[in-house]
């Protein structure tokens, strides 16, 4: 058993996995191809609505009303995209969404790790009750939170600030992280902790040197979730960020949608522009998700 996973060991284990994979890849039978085909077909069906969005984002309103939402545009036009960009000042809105979602993703993961360390590894007394309590952050319907939070934010002078939204969502999102990480950590191999303790590591050092590396793959999944969930949050940002300078992408989208100021092509353009950053974020982190394989190789 290894307590700290050195680079060298990680590489050997990665090489070993790669070798077994190569060997196995040669033996793919017709069944494997059938599964691949089935999954590709499923992915295709799942993607249909996105194709519709792209089709309409590239149409002119005239073409849309003539041929309906499902026709393929004759000549792709960027008119709708440009119009939406200008109308909401998309650049500024984008920066706000990035600031808020990015801060929440990082802070909520940190908070989750601290909570989960105490609950999952520390197994402190009453941990189930504490977990139920912390989970309330997610169980409470947001409609019920809006009035009191609005009132409290005004009291402490944080109303209409991005900071208020960051704090609120750090707490709300960390509920899931705390639960997931403490569940994972409660199955953490005890001997590993004891070995580290005997080596003279403090709790703080154990957290960062022993526990943290094992949690890395799960943490990067959490970061992706938190970023995307926060990006798409609507109700609380809508109530909290009243001034135009503070608005987020999904608030700008929802407000325009609600005012019925957008035709179908502009809605699609808005959807496409709102979608691209989160998709990029996910695609960039896909790599981290897959790299988890070597980090999880501690036994």
């Amino acid at each position: 058993m290894t307590v700290t996973l050195t680079d060298k060991q990680a590489k050997t284990s990665a090489r070993r996995t790669a070798r077994t994979r190569d060997r196995r890849r040669r033996r793919r039978g017709p069944a494997a191809y059938a599964v691949l085909l089935g999954l590709a077909a499923l992915a295709g069906i799942v993607l249909i609505p996105f194709v519709v969005v792209v089709l309409n984002a590239l149409k002119t309103p005239a073409e849309y009303s003539e041929k309906g939402p499902l026709a393929i545009p004759d000549s792709p036009s960027l008119e709708a995209l440009g119009q939406f960009w200008d109308r909401v000042g998309f650049g500024g809105v984008l920066v706000n969404s990035f600031l808020i979602s990015g801060s929440v993703a990082v802070l909520a993961v940190l908070l989750s790790v601290l909570n989960a360390y105490a609950l999952g590894i520390g197994r402190i007394r009453g941990r189930t009750s504490i977990l139920v309590l912390l989970l309330m952050a997610n169980t409470l319907p947001q409609e019920a939170l809006v009035y009191p939070l609005y009132y409290l934010a005004k009291q402490v002078g944080l109303y209409d600030t991005r900071l208020a939204v960051v704090i609120v969502f750090t707490v709300i999102q960390s509920a899931f992280g705390t639960y997931l990480l403490s569940s994972v950590l409660s199955t953490f191999p005890r001997p590993l902790l004891e070995a580290a303790r005997i080596d003279g590591a403090s709790r703080w050092q154990i957290l960062w040197r022993v526990v943290f590396p094992v949690l890395r793959p799960t943490m990067s999944v959490l970061m992706v979730f938190f970023f995307i969930w926060t990006w798409n949050e609507f109700l609380i940002p809508l109530v909290f960020l009243v001034s135009n300078d503070n608005q987020t992408v999904s608030v700008a989208l929802g407000v325009l949608q609600g005012q019925r100021l957008m035709d179908a092509t502009m809605s699609s353009a808005a959807a496409l522009l709102g979608l691209i950053p989160t998709v990029l974020f996910f695609l960039i982190f896909q790599r981290t998700l897959s790299r988890g394989l070597t980090a999880g190789a501690i036994k």
């Binding site: 609505p49 520390g122 999904s250 949608q257 709102g274």
Partner: protein, 306 residues
């Protein structure tokens, strides 16, 4: 050392972890604890959101007990749990196992990543937009679903999916499965990365079929994730609001209403803030009760494992 001493050392040792909980508990108190108590307070009043709330004690709760609309909305929630929790978890489990155990190993991790990204994409789409797109696809005239049915000669099946009370809830459930599937998939796939590859190799050498490996290796290895995903999606199902809001607004004729949308209606459409708070409080208490039962079961399960 006597057992007593040992126990005391263990207790002192656990106390040492307490500081790690302090930031979480403080933030929780300010952002969730206090607002929840304020919400409970509001639920004991008649209040339109402005002016002075009028104290009516348990009046709202008495009214709630006899409110047919409220209980009907709870009935729909049972089906929403299938659409948002049970079905996506089961499907996600099979897909995650197929992608990790079969696609990744036979066709390489890149193929698996691409497929995962495609299946996860609906989670990324803002729900407001998903609602608009699905209303296009499910539209009675020129909707893609109906046109597809006509094209393959099944015109008799084509109809107003979201407008007909008989199919509205089922259509919403289908969209929910589409939205949800990526969440369990990604969580399970990240969990499967913890699994020792040699476990699969050993099972394969023993001649275990794919389905045997699925039941005896995959599922036991990612039990923590399965519990987490099930509880989480069930909570999400009980709170389901956005898909209903964007697709049907609870209609037609209340056929797709759920408690959280009902509480929203009271908060913002009917400005019965007191009554809406009561609905939200009852919903919260039900979810908390469910969470407690669920965590007990999970704790027992993990205890057995050790």
């Amino acid at each position: 050392m006597s057992t007593n001493d040992l126990r005391r050392t263990a207790a002192r040792d656990r106390l040492g972890y307490l500081p790690y909980l302090v930031p979480g508990l403080l933030l929780f108190t300010g952002v969730i604890g206090v607002p929840f108590l304020m919400n409970v307070g509001t639920s004991l009043t008649r209040w339109s959101g402005v002016g002075t709330p009028e104290w009516i004690g348990l009046g709202n709760y008495r009214e709630l007990a006899g409110d047919g609309e409220f209980w009907a909305s709870f009935g729909h929630n049972a089906l929403v749990i299938v659409g948002m929790a049970l079905a996506p978890t089961a499907i996600g489990l099979v897909l995650a196992a197929l992608l990790t155990d079969l696609i990744d190993r036979h066709f390489g991790p890149r193929v698996a990543s691409v497929l995962r990204a495609c299946l996860y994409l609906p989670q990324v789409l803002p729900i407001v937009i998903a609602g608009v797109v699905w209303s296009w696809l499910l539209a009675p005239e020129n909707g893609a679903v109906n046109e597809l049915l006509t094209a393959v000669g099944l015109d008799s099946l084509a109809h107003d999916w979201l407008g007909d009370p008989a199919t509205a809830l089922w259509s919403v459930l289908a969209v929910m499965v589409w939205i949800q599937i990526g969440f369990p998939l990604v969580v399970f796939m990240s969990g499967l990365q913890r699994v020792e590859p040699s476990l699969y190799e050993a099972a394969e050498i023993d001649g275990a079929s794919w389905s045997r490996r699925f039941w005896h290796v995959t599922i036991p290895q990612i039990r923590p994730e399965i519990f987490v995903v099930l509880l989480w999606t069930t909570i999400a199902a009980l709170k389901a609001f956005a898909p209903i809001y964007v697709l049907t607004k609870g209609g037609p004729g209340g056929a797709t209403n759920v408690p959280s949308y009902y509480s929203y209606q009271n908060f913002f459409d009917k400005t019965e803030v007191g009554y809406g708070s009561a609905v939200a409080t009852v919903l919260t208490l039900i979810i908390i009760a469910l969470t407690i039962v669920f965590l007990r079961v999970q704790a027992r399960d993990q205890g057995e494992e050790r």
